[in-house]
Amino acid sequence: MTKNKVRIQNAVTYGMVILFWVVIQVMDKTGHLTSLFKGLLVPLCMYAILAVSLNLTVGILGELSLGHAGFMCLGAFSGAFLTNCLETAVPSVGVRFFMALILGALVAGVFGLLIGIPVLRLKGDYLAIVTLAFGEIIKNLINVLYVGRDANGFHFSMKDTTSLGLDEETGVVLIKGAQGITGTPRAATFTIGILLLLLTLFIVLNLIHSRTGRAIMSIRDNRIAAESIGINITKYKLMAFSISAALAGMAGVLYAHSLSTLKASSDNFGYNKSILILVFVVLGGLGNMRGSIIAAMLLTALPELLRGLNDYRMLIYAIVLIVMTIFNSSPKAIELRSVVMSKLRGGAKKEVA
């Protein structure tokens, strides 16, 4: 693609997100938004960020990762922890939220780097299962983590709140194991979510169309050829993986600030979450950031829009998933589609003639 084309494509992606924001704002002002849909807006942004960031690992780097929810979990907990810690020191919720976003991204990014060093040596499905394993380990460890603070500083425990040995007067339990973190201010708004999504897009799209991005894609296309022309495989793999992790951590912080109680449960951060994000990436198209956003938003909204069908909604979701994938990827379906398209085009030409 030429530079101009890339610019236009990127502009369309940014424009689409901004247009979405404008439409929602207009709908909100004119009272066309149901409260159900309002509650969906922050998760929509969050899933879009997660899908774009995972697409960096799966689509651009070409490695299947099933541990994305683990990084999100790390970001969510470190961010919520910071927000609660600094409650007295920094009274402004906005400033604390901002600091939490940076910390969450940083923690997840550092862990992405640490996990990436051993893990990225593996290939294909082995890599997938190890990232899944790391995600589950992170979730399980946070589930038994107790952190408290009193006049003497921080106390950690893996057992229960009493073994923290907190000073009775000044002690506050900040992370309560399976009960998680409570009392985080719900500072996440739709506008902040969209801004973070734009930031994510900015980082990822610029990375892809840079020298670094081309190096990363060359590793995906042919590792040996890339190595033979002097590309440092480990460095670029780690770079893509930890950036992807950091962005997931940021999405986690957004998530943490949209809930009053944050728990490291299987529903929130289990491997099913990672798989869900992977579904967005694959259906949106590998390496296609705009597709990731559209797929994430549609598929997040779909079960909610089908709420009228109650029990059948997840069933329909499953069928949509299967049918869409077959329609998208099956060689026969692709052939059929191109035949239909060419017939349509042929017909249109005849009409013109």
């Binding site: 799966v58 299947l64 051993p118 893990v119 040596r121 593996l122 290939k123 499905d125 082995y126 997938a128 299962i129 190890v130 899944l132 394993a133 790391f134 589950e136 380990i137 399980n140 460890l141 589930n143 038994v144 893996m158 399976a178 040996i224 491997y271 099913n272 798989i275 992977l278 579904v279 694959v282 259906l283 590998l286 029990d311 059948y312 997840m314 069933l315 979701y317 499953a318 069928i319 998933l321 299967i322 994938t325 077959i326 998208n328 990827s329 099956s330 060689p331 026969k332 379906a333």
Partner: protein
Amino acid sequence: MSFLSYFISGVSLGAVYAIIALGYTMVYGIARMLNFAHGDVIMVGSFVIFTVVSTFGMNPFIGIAAGVLACTLLGVTVERIAYRPLREATSLAVLITAIGVSYFLQNVALLIFGSNAHQFTSVVSLPNLVLAGGNLTVSSTAIVTIISCIIIMIALTAFINKTKMGQAMLAVSEDRGAASLMGIDVNKTIAVTFAIGSALAAIAGALLCSAYPSLTPYTGSMPGIKAFTAAVFGGIGSIPGALIGGIVLGVIENLSKAYISSQLSDAIVFAVLIIVLLVRPTGILGRKINEKV
């Protein structure tokens, strides 16, 4: 003595993982796909057995036979509808349809049986084995599980090495294109693989739910993931690897539950997996594939 009893129940849990892992490993070896819905086939099998035995009050053997039959049909149907059209597509596409099938099966079960846990009556009605003057009790379910696992392993190895179909499976797993040139019906071979894997899943479901009797639409998903871990641990594609991986994982899980922390047992299992894969990147018995330039 308590160590021994934890160890034996660990081996029994591991035997169930091994039977499930066989399904993963055979399908992976032959069709090169991760069948994420395999865990849910276990759940379907368990529900069929539950319905036949507890609701209609039939003999457990009839129940297991019905479960095996239902799962075999299910496995073949799923393969035909959801996986075969994507045979030539990228492996990620098949992964997504497998996830779709998994959601589908869970939600069908949810619609029929609801989300409440059902009490599964054990298919094993033998008395427990008491050893060492009453100090060590081995549950009959554990014994039956371990014996079934051994029988299945022997039968499967014999099937693969001695029958024409088994040889065809080996050929397809080696090189699909060459196998089809030799006149092997690749589609049929893959369908048979799915049938066997799913039948084994039904047996695994019966054994799993006899030991852990609470049955919900999500019963299969965690054991499925653990068994998949076991398959990778032992070297995916390898049948003895599935056995070793399953047993090692089951023992580690049970011992860490007993001596370290029940909340951390999953984390420990996964940590062991990571360590093993870092030392041997293709699992314990996995074949090393040299990359050609």
